[in-house]
């Protein structure tokens, strides 16, 4: 009886140990990927800041500035770009961003706006594969090796649709890595370009070639590509951080289970030894 129990416990310990090896390995892989991803996310910041600064200046300094990209159109669809991971096992990482995006989809549809989607990451395309929403494009497995060209390709596609009047609104749903221990799903409005300061009447001393509007509009694909690049890289870093944390917890839990099972195993072993001893002693006593 005790022997069979011991065997079962031993088997469980073995199985938990091998699971722990996997979670431990995944944790290490995620933390090394996180380091690279974090660097990449930080390096993208100066470019984007300068780009945005330039666009703000154009919009604020040029007299009578007017661009289709800064005003909300009455008709046209809303394009939501939802970014998630290519894999699961990262805690609530994928679910959080979907929750935010789904809420926004319902909100927009209640307003009577048509919603179309673009997904980045396999999990996102799987999540919306069932949805009846129109999928404009899916970008799986691009996050890890994200390049400016991928971002530019996506951006050109969107600008093209916007120029033809199909789109009124472009929003990005991504996960921002606040710190390696905390990631937050966010929503960002991209078009109409938000928060551009306007102070009309201030004559600009800057020379724009060929014209402020032309410069502004030619920066739009770059601006969009810049945002897409930054958010994809940020989301990827968040995914790795979330996975590292989830796997760390799993490893800790496995360790706890092993400790617990080891205790049980030792108790069972002790019990069987005690029982054997009792049997021997009582056997010897019976001989007398």
């Amino acid at each position: 009886m005790a022997g069979a129990n011991m065997k079962a416990i031993k088997r469980r310990i073995k199985s938990v140990e091998s699971t722990m090896q996997i979670t431990k390995a995944m944790e290490l892989v995620a933390s090394s990927k996180l380091r690279h991803a974090k660097e990449r996310a930080e390096q993208a910041v100066p470019f984007f800041n300068l780009l945005y600064e330039t666009m703000s200046e154009v919009a604020s300094e040029a007299v009578g500035f007017h661009s289709a990209y800064t005003e909300l159109r009455e008709d046209g669809a809303a394009l939501l770009i939802v970014m998630a991971g290519d894999r699961g096992l990262a805690g609530g990482f994928n679910v959080n961003v979907f929750r935010l995006a789904d809420k926004r989809i319902r909100e927009l549809e209640a307003q009577g706006r048509e919603v179309i989607l673009m997904t980045v990451g396999k999990k996102a395309s799987e999540h919306y594969a069932k949805a009846e929403n129109r999928i404009l494009g899916t970008f799986d497995n691009v996050a890890e090796k994200m390049t400016t060209y991928t971002a530019l390709h996506m951006a050109e596609h969107i600008v093209h649709l916007f120029d033809q009047g199909h789109l009124a609104l472009v929003e990005v749903f991504f996960t921002n890595m606040v710190s390696p221990l905390s990631q937050e799903a966010r929503q960002m409005q991209v078009i109409p370009v938000p928060n551009l300061e306007r102070n009309p009447g201030v004559q600009s001393l800057t020379h724009y070639e060929p014209s402020p509007e032309a410069v502004f509009n030619s920066l739009i694909p770059q601006y969009l590509a810049g945002i897409l690049y930054c958010t994809v890289v940020d989301t990827y870093a968040s995914e790795q951080a979330a996975r590292r944390m989830a796997m760390e917890n799993a490893t800790d839990n496995a360790q706890e289970m092993i400790d617990d099972l080891s205790l049980k195993y030792n108790r069972a072993r002790q019990a069987s030894i005690t029982q054997e001893l009792t049997e021997i002693v009582s056997g010897a006593n019976a001989q007398e």
């Binding site: 990449r40 390096q43 993208a44 100066p46 470019f47 984007f48 300068l50 780009l51 330039t54 200046e57 154009v58 390049t147 400016t148 060209y149 971002a151 530019l152 390709h153 050109e156 596609h157 093209h160 001393l205 800057t206 020379h207 724009y208 070639e209 060929p210 032309a214 410069v215 030619s218 920066l219 770059q222 590509a225 810049g226 690049y229 930054c230």
Partner: protein, 136 residues
């Protein structure tokens, strides 16, 4: 000759940062030479070469794949999708990229594919041109 600060930034990294005497960029309207104390100026840049005269007078050429230039009297910034020094350009890769772009252009189904292929082709051709360039 007086110098000014130049930064060339791509989304992936800060490609160049330092003091220079002069920089020449190719805008949609033509070549533009920028010296210190240039008037404030902003222009979009198609794919093309950039020539930089360093602080010590040496000259370097780089291939720029689309972007913008922003000039202030003491500071110039170039935003680029990608940029490489002429001597660092991988010619085989650029040639393959050119072939690929031409193939895409032929097989393109719609205007958007065509535009994308066209831009890709321009980038590849620009790299090839700049890699063999000694001067603008």
């Amino acid at each position: 000759m007086s110098i000014f600060r130049l930064r060339i930034i791509t989304p992936e990294k800060v490609f160049f940062e330092g003091a220079v005497q002069r920089v020449i960029v190719r805008t949609s309207e033509g070549d533009l030479g920028i010296l210190a104390k240039h008037e404030k100026y902003v222009a979009a840049l198609p794919s093309g070469p950039v020539k930089i005269t360093m602080e010590d007078g040496t000259e370097r050429i780089a291939a720029l794949s689309g972007g913008a230039v922003k000039v202030s009297p003491d500071h110039t910034a170039i935003l680029a999708n990608a940029v490489e020094w002429a001597e660092d350009i991988d010619i085989d890769w650029a040639k393959r990229s050119e072939e690929d772009a031409r193939r895409r252009k032929e097989n393109s189904q719609n205007q958007e594919d065509l535009k994308y292929a066209e831009l890709k082709l321009q980038r590849a051709l620009n790299r090839l041109r700049v890699s063999s360039m000694k001067d603008l």
